[in-house]
Subunit: 130 residues, 4 copies
């Protein structure tokens, strides 16, 4: 399954080269991840309020082309493989000219907010992620 | 009393005009405020860990000149008036050429983190702020 | 005239109190300002590409209530007074419960990007702002 | 060769879990990279003013442990391999308890700012990087 989410590049997100600063793509990935989970039936805020947090274990990204101010980006998000104690999200970012500008990957794990120990994602959430 | 703190402008903090983005000065004020409190004997983290948070009630800033990438800024901080349920911080930001580039002001108040109710700053902290 | 724009609070925009960090409202104001100008017929990017930049001369904001993660904010924007060499924008930010959480103000001026000298906003833009 | 640079974690850089947000490490890497180049005799700003920019082609990071508010981080930076049309920087981030909290990697390339075409880094810079 694959979902998409659109984000407009903000002025402050561009650097003095006029390009979206590379640090900002982590924010775009996070917003896209949250919104596609919402589409799939999971409100991440509620999951966190119920005591499950989802930190990032690792992240990578490759830049193909510069993102620019006022670009209207489309982010394609896929969850790869089984979701158990971890979830692997893959992202492809396109600009309004349908050019691929960035691909990325985040590996998340699930943690009990009180004990700070890893846990298996409960079935009620897992079924929506697959 | 007046304290100073130095901050080097980061690449990502500049926008496509090449100027420090105006939103970033709130981060500089916060770093400077924290560091001058540390000089005065207060570690804000410890204060927060002891249950006192210090949200911003209001903030203003005026820009005289653009801050630029790699500038080494000097921030002068003053606490104005008495510190009771509120504290008023004033900031002057100079670049390495001793040009005043920004003045600002934040009004903070003290809140019990558990009850989320305002409180008077305890004497053990207040004495360091005056 | 008054316009509105909606923004969803991002995870990274909240601090360890769980509140939208006060520096972030400047980004919300900027996004809202850009979008209401677009509604009014002005693409700020085009204006900048044509050589007119609009730096912030002063900014102020007052916080009434904390913004929180995943809040869906509605920002009301008004341009106050005449637009000549300056423009005054006023912002009211409401959360999804229709509570006013922040009011703010930015004073912008218009500058020729090449000469870096102030200018009067050309009629073709001004008519859309009023 | 390996250099180090220290960074104090800012309040706004921590999220509502109380951890340094993962997007922020890209800013720390960038500040550390700039400062170790400065130690090595290269001011990145001057290099950019002379027409050479150094965009990121790819970036990855792995998180071992959470960074926290007010942590005083030490970032170790190494340049790996030869510097020609690209430079590979590796980062290890330690907290004040000498715990490794994050490792990361950025692959940069050199670009002529006017033509936007890749170039070999001129000898006058390269000698300082090796």
């Amino acid at each position: 399954m694959e979902w998409t989410h659109k984000i407009r590049v903000r002025y402050a997100e561009c650097d003095r080269m006029g390009f979206v600063h590379h640090s900002v793509y982590a924010l775009y990935f996070e917003e896209a991840r949250t919104e596609i989970l919402r589409q799939a039936g999971i409100t991440y805020k509620e999951m966190e309020d119920e005591g499950i947090i989802m930190p990032v274990r690792s992240m990578s990204m490759t830049f193909k082309k510069a993102g620019k101010y006022d670009d209207l980006l489309t982010i394609h998000v896929r969850i790869e493989g089984a979701v158990e104690v971890r979830a692997h999200f893959h992202y492809d970012v396109y600009n309004q000219n349908e050019e691929l500008i960035c691909t990325g990957y985040t590996e998340m794990f699930f943690v009990n907010k009180d004990s700070m120990r890893p846990l298996k994602l409960p079935e009620k959430y897992k079924k929506h992620m697959q």
